[in-house]
Symmetry: C3
Amino acid sequence: MASTLHGKDILRTDPLTDAELDLILSTAAHFERELDSGQHANRMAGQVMAAMFFEPSTRTRLSFEAAMHRLGGDVITIADPKTSSAVKGESMGDAVRVIEGYADVIVMRRPRKGSAQEAADAVSIPVINGGDGAGQHPTQALLDTYTIQKEQGALDGLTVALAGDLKNGRTVHSLAYVLARFDTELIFVSPPQLRMPARITDGLREMGVTVIETEGLADAVQESDVLYMTRIQKERFEDPEEYERLKGAYVLDSAMLELARPTITIMHPLPRVNEIKPEVDAHPGAAYFRQAHNGVPIRMALLALVTGRN
Amino acid sequence: MASTLHGKDILRTDPLTDAELDLILSTAAHFERELDSGQHANRMAGQVMAAMFFEPSTRTRLSFEAAMHRLGGDVITIADPKTSSAVKGESMGDAVRVIEGYADVIVMRRPRKGSAQEAADAVSIPVINGGDGAGQHPTQALLDTYTIQKEQGALDGLTVALAGDLKNGRTVHSLAYVLARFDTELIFVSPPQLRMPARITDGLREMGVTVIETEGLADAVQESDVLYMTRIQKERFEDPEEYERLKGAYVLDSAMLELARPTITIMHPLPRVNEIKPEVDAHPGAAYFRQAHNGVPIRMALLALVTGRN
Amino acid sequence: MASTLHGKDILRTDPLTDAELDLILSTAAHFERELDSGQHANRMAGQVMAAMFFEPSTRTRLSFEAAMHRLGGDVITIADPKTSSAVKGESMGDAVRVIEGYADVIVMRRPRKGSAQEAADAVSIPVINGGDGAGQHPTQALLDTYTIQKEQGALDGLTVALAGDLKNGRTVHSLAYVLARFDTELIFVSPPQLRMPARITDGLREMGVTVIETEGLADAVQESDVLYMTRIQKERFEDPEEYERLKGAYVLDSAMLELARPTITIMHPLPRVNEIKPEVDAHPGAAYFRQAHNGVPIRMALLALVTGRN
């Protein structure tokens, strides 16, 4: 029987079966071809998505809103936490139960881990997690995976380097677990203070993934099919001087890329500050803007699948 | 001749004729059946609703926006008072006269009483009052009435208890006047400091309504077909200790409901804080979330009727 | 060959050829007739406009959003500068390159002069300047021109008075240059401190325009086919008493209009504070609200032309 996501929530990536992951990626590819050909399928005409953003995230919000509009649907948005009824002491469960009557699907972003699950438990319409703080950000992991597949032509047989702050980076944690489903070698590049947590590294190795840890960005660049850069934030360091000394070591420039494979794909969840020099933008493998754009077909796929309009 | 609301403003409930009230309720019921059957009538395609919210009210705003989208129409929104041209010293009349050229209908919420009337006087497109402070909130009263009709099957022959802060509650004032058009007995349940104003009680009695006033919630619960709870706000009390002593007396729980009629309908304008215990949510008569959801068909009816698109 | 604006940016008015200006005005007139006849052409169904307003401007934003909706298209909006990723240190080029993947056209308002050009340089989809501080506000100049053409029946052979703060008024600078393309006589009416900059007056005279400068509003009113009033802002004066003395001299009232030509057109970019007395609103030539409403067909024309959907 064909797998389906109709009526399901998208809260984390780990409960997705391989068939469901395949379905999301292939549906996104289908929608992207439709967009490219200028078709306007209007699948979700008359449907309403509620974007409940209790934490600012312009990029994720606009990407979801654009996805809904590309499907012919409409959007109602809470983007200012201060105007919400939460200030009147209302519980989150009550708030989403009201919205349930206004919309067909809820996209929620909230800084507290587990809040997307809590919302999903309260309502019977599908909830998509747009990021719950230290929890998950599944649509980012899915668009990252979609980007790798598109740029490299496949998800198996790749060496993927994740570089920067691997300790606090929710994005790289989720992505590592998704990639572990495929025949992937992972290289983790970070300063010692910002290493990938041992529980994740151990978990990945148990899943059969080859994991290499290193501090040197240049070496990783030479070995990788995909280089995923993340931002190193000053706030993460107790000693500001240590930050100043380290940050320069995790900046990608054109010189470093001269030794890379010609087919390398360079990714970044954006916004970047100075982890990737602007000179790199002209590299054919600089995929970070394409990666951001892939958020639209992936979110179209998720919205259409969970509402049964694919 | 059939009654019509085409081109009219919805500023208060009292000027509505009984035929107009009937038309609104029956149009809402029609739209709700359409929504339930998944039909997408697209009556307001190409039409624009301007939501001018000079006071935060996420719930009312989103409900109106969802209603407009369900009708196939579009929305332009002012939700942040600080970004409006009012800060440049512009009069409200000028502000709405500009918006008149952008939209087919205006929904306005503004804290000053009478501001919806002022806006309606300035423009020739219909204005719907989304709440004008101590003034009226007619769409809330209409969705409350629609809820009672749906839950109880009729509006005549009911005993309706309104409980909590009856002094400051704009919502219960408007609802009491609408119910007075029908064969209703009203029970007002409040602490002495928060009694229904005498001018309203007197007015209702002159309209032929039986009004009973009491301080005891438990007795009212036993006698009522409909129990409408409202929030008692700490700010209304000069003596905080008095608030603490009183608030417990106006909290509905499952034990209290054991003596209620089995067909009781429990309502609340939401957000609730702790006036209704979460355990009550499982009661078949707990209608407060259905009540909030009824805001969509009622607002669809109003938008379609005043623009002649019903 | 027919002129076209397909794929072009609208950043300033001066690079527009006369044929392009004609095309914009005639397309706007066409769309206005469609709107008046209740037609709903749905030209931009499935298309998305990104409104990036890094500076509050409710009027311009809502007018663009209404225009996009009237064309059947959808809108994604950034209206709160604080929620944007700019706060995380992202460059403007990066920000718009991300949005490029979400939308078909970008409308940008940003207080820094030249920022619309910078955005246009970064992306390949069309960018429309919604006002870049001391730079240009081309859509205002175009709707002003459209208004004069509609109200007076032609753009040639007119005497146009621009009154108020001509020194700082971006709007009147742009409008003067557009009018200089036609057979126009310009009267500049301002206090000495707020005169039209000499470089602009000189430039207009070099273009063959007759320019008269005066301090007296009453005389200009008598001589003009079109009187364009602007606001004199207190902040522009070092000496507050001088402001108080001067502001009264630039207030239009009914008495002053008794000596005007009966066919005079009175304009104002709005919001007005007290430059035009409310009593003037009843004058048949009081066109300022019609002028604001003309923003919709002009912006429809621009959106449809640059995306090739006209």
